[in-house]
């Protein structure tokens, strides 16, 4: 391979009680996309924070452009040509694209007056390079997540970055947005940028990356060209053991309808009808903004519907609040764990039992012992890795947080479980465990709605798949016969379900 532009060599970093990095290494080559893989907690984020100087390293060295360097913070490393695009975007929604790109280094005259024309012109040039169709004066808050990501990339390019690190860049993107991101990555690569690509999505790694570095437990495990490794070997290296079949679909004979949705309409959802059977996993596909989350929140009573009727086990039910939905036996696990899923400052126990407290109290009084026993039972059954039931949930890994979320819904003993992106931001090992759990509920006869943007997951887990486009259902597929291309075609609005069904 060519000479590396950036080398992290045997980096060590300890926090009180944990050795987060133990001889972690990473090489970045100009004109190559390097995948950085590892389970959650493997040290990927810590390594990036050491690189940009947010953390000081205990041992090891950073060699950049042939010199040993250290950086005082993100601004310092960015000026030197190393940019990070974080999973959570660092943009100010109320400012324009140009203001965001040049935040803190506005182009000014000698007396400090901002030269708007100059700044907007430079921003426009960057945007056209990334084929973003908005003007630099557009407010960032009005952009889609994918477009906001492009603004972050524009910002990185404006620093003349030689190394760009992308942390889970496609997690919130639709497939179309992902495609245009890949186009940009390819261009950057051709221009000689070194790119570090952190993702849990195997397919993307094999599509876009040239080489891969695997970390496990804070240490360097493996580096090789992407053509020299296959998916199974990669997962093996990440988890340190062999994984069984990723999507162990189980066959269940469905016994009649559980939930019927008739002509449901409301903000972002138009005239949706479908049937969910007992013991069925019904997948929902669609692009971001297709109305899937809105539809689910409407079924759950968290968003108002303008018309439509739900019936559960043949009886009409009227749901206008989440309380009523939970009482009726419908549980919803949010896609946005940090936003509206978890109470990050509260403990594992308090998060898990919050929906089921009515069952765990006599009158006003909480039955603490019953609560603890119930929580322990779920921690055990779900294999949740936490120091104790009283640990702050914000300190758990993404996969374990997600398991707590699911346990929270299950404690209400639902008949219908709605899972919105249950494996987003969850590492491979924990994903498998979540799939196993979902299958276990299915075997018990629970009806499950699985909303997911992860196609292989949707195809692998669901019995049937419904596709949404602009608030409507644009297609229905038998998962065994469906494939990615037809579903995607449906998601972008081609109605071809008649040919399939």
């Amino acid at each position: 391979m060519t000479q590396a532009i950036l080398q992290l060599q045997a980096i060590e970093k300890s926090f009180p009680g944990v050795k987060a990095l133990d001889k972690a290494s990473l090489n970045v080559y100009p004109g190559k996309v390097m995948a950085l893989m590892g389970e959650n907690g493997a040290g990927k984020s810590t390594l990036m924070k050491v690189l940009t100087g947010i953390y000081n390293l205990d041992a090891g060295q950073i060699v950049y452009q042939g010199k040993v360097r250290s950086f005082d913070g993100p601004r310092d490393s960015q000026t030197a040509g190393i940019s990070i695009i974080h999973q959570e975007l660092n943009l100010l929604p109320e400012l324009t694209i140009a203001e965001n790109i040049f935040l803190g280094r506005e182009i000014t005259s000698r007396f400090g007056r901002i030269l708007w024309d100059e700044m907007n012109a430079q921003a426009a040039a960057l945007l056209s390079r990334l084929s973003v169709s908005h003007t630099p004066q557009t407010r960032v808050g009005s952009l889609s997540l994918g477009e906001q990501q492009m603004v972050e990339i524009a910002k990185a390019i404006s620093f003349d970055s030689k190394v760009i690190i992308m942390d889970e860049p496609t997690d919130a993107l639709t497939d179309i947005e992902t495609q245009s991101l890949f186009k940009v990555i390819n261009e950057l690569r051709d221009q000689g940028c070194g790119i570090v690509y952190i993702s849990h999505r195997m397919q993307e790694i094999f599509t876009i990356c040239d080489a891969v570095t695997v970390l496990r437990d804070g240490g360097f495990i493996h580096e090789c060209a992407i053509s020299d490794i296959d998916e199974d070997q990669l997962i093996e290296r990440m988890v340190g053991r062999k994984l069984a079949d990723q999507y162990p679909r189980i066959a269940i004979t469905h016994q009649g309808s559980r939930l019927a949705v008739k002509q449901l309409s409301g903000p972002g959802v138009a005239n949706v009808s479908f049937n969910l059977n007992q013991g069925e996993i019904l997948g929902f596909s669609g692009l971001m903004g297709a109305g899937r989350t809105e539809l689910m929140k409407m079924i759950f009573g968290a968003e108002a519907k303008t018309q439509g009727q739900l019936s559960l086990n043949g009886c009409d039910i009227n749901i206008s609040s989440p309380q009523q939905a939970l009482t009726a036996g419908i549980a919803y696990i949010s896609e946005d764990r940090k936003g509206d899923g978890l109470l990050l400052d509260l403990s594992v126990k308090e998060n898990m039992s919050i929906c089921a407290l009515a069952k765990l109290s006599s009158g006003l009084q909480l039955r603490h012992n019953d609560e603890m026993a119930e929580v322990d039972r779920f921690i055990d059954a779900f294999n949740i890795k936490t120091p104790s039931r009283d640990a702050r949930i914000g300190n758990l890994s993404g996969g374990n947080q997600q398991k707590v979320s699911i346990a929270k819904g299950l404690m209400t003993l639902p008949q219908v479980l709605i899972l919105d992106e249950p494996t987003r931001g969850v590492d491979v090992g924990a994903k498998k465990e979540i799939y196993d759990l979902i299958n276990r509920f299915k075997a018990q006869g629970m009806s499950i709605i699985l909303v997911s943007s992860d196609m292989p997951e949707l195809l692998g887990m669901s019995d049937r798949i419904l596709v949404m486009h602009q608030g409507q259902i644009s297609g229905e597929f038998d998962a065994a016969k469906a494939n990615q291309e037809t579903i995607l075609a449906c998601a972008v609005g081609k109605t071809l379900h008649k040919d399939i069904a």
Binding site: S321, P322, Q323, L366
Partner: protein
């Protein structure tokens, strides 16, 4: 790993984190220690009971304030609610209405007044600061109109005498307001730690949209929190009125700030969702002891304000350090 921590002897657990975690308690004890060296009159039973009685009004208001702040709100109207409830109870006692009737009426009136703020915050989606700034001014105005700006005497009936006992009486040698304060704290502790409602308070303050998606009736929880805060202010109003045998229309002005200071000194986050009621008790005691100490040490009331502000500033700075 957690086992090795709990198995450590006590003195080994005294590290920086332990000190920050228990800073308000440490501050309280150092305050008591220093002042008892400086003034021989400080550490006497009489003076301590005096301090507790003086603290009780602020502490009772601070309990309600803690509950509201835990929901990520704030209630600036407590002083006005105190004055209006005081005027109501004074009128009733003046009309010879039995104490056992007048008290519940005043407490319910306080709860209703608090609920007004709660409804504006929860249903009107108005920021708590603005909403209660409005009710603070509104209710003060109502009090002024109602009392015509003059004190409302409770009169000289037997009823008035038994009412006055609430502010001046003793049970087992301990002032009645101190008993009331103790009951309120135990009640609030039970509410926050052992009931569903208490858990919901933390949930709403911690992450409102997550609480809503968890099936919690967020609006009801908020309105109830403000109603509790209002009834605590009313109880404080009853004590103040009973002590003076009349209700002052200007009573309770500025009390909201002392209550908020007690809550913040006690370590409760103004962002909501984090805090303990015991902390508020300690916070209220620090303010009470500080006031008393500055008086005993003959510090002028002008300097007292500066001293109090410095203590609060220090506590808040330590708190932000912990988060960083």
């Amino acid at each position: 790993m957690s086992q090795s921590i709990t198995a450590q002897p006590f003195y080994k657990r005294i590290n920086k984190e332990w000190l920050i975690e228990n800073k308000s308690l440490i501050a309280l004890f150092s305050l008591i220690f220093v002042v008892s060296l400086l003034s021989p009159n400080f550490l006497t039973v009489d003076n301590l009971l005096n301090i507790l009685r003086q603290t009780s009004v602020n502490a009772i208001i601070a309990v309600g304030m803690t509950i509201v702040i835990l929901t990520a709100g704030i209630d600036l109207s407590v002083g006005s609610v105190l004055a209006l409830s005081g005027a109501i109870v004074a009128t009733l006692i003046g009309m010879d209405v039995p104490v056992m009737v007048a008290l519940p009426v005043a407490l319910i009136a306080g709860a209703a007044l608090g609920a007004i703020s709660g409804i504006i915050v929860a249903k009107g989606k108005v920021q708590a600061f603005i909403a209660t700034l409005v009710t603070m001014t509104l209710l003060r105005g109502v009090t002024m109109v109602y009392t015509d700006g003059r004190p409302v005497p409770t009169g000289f009936s037997d009823t008035a005498d038994s009412f006055t006992w609430l502010g001046t009486g003793y049970v087992l040698g301990i002032p009645v307001p101190v008993w009331l304060m103790a009951i309120v704290f135990i009640g609030a502790w039970y509410l926050l730690n052992h009931t569903r409602f208490g858990r919901y308070i933390y949930a709403v303050g911690g992450n409102e949209s997550a609480a809503r998606l968890s099936g919690i009736a967020v609006d009801k929880v908020k309105i109830a929190a403000y109603a509790i805060c209002g009834s605590m202010a009313a109880l404080a109003g009853i004590i103040v009125t009973a002590r003076l045998s009349s209700a002052q229309p200007t009573a309770g002005m500025g009390y909201e700030l002392d209550a908020i200071a007690a809550v913040v000194l006690g370590g409760t986050s103004l962002m909501g969702g984090k805090g303990r009621i015991v902390g508020t008790l300690i916070g209220a005691l620090i303010i009470g002891f500080l006031n008393n100490a500055l008086n005993l040490l003959d510090v002028s009331s002008y300097y007292q304000m500066i001293a109090k502000a410095s203590v609060i500033l220090l506590a808040v700075i330590i708190d932000t350090k912990k988060k960083a």
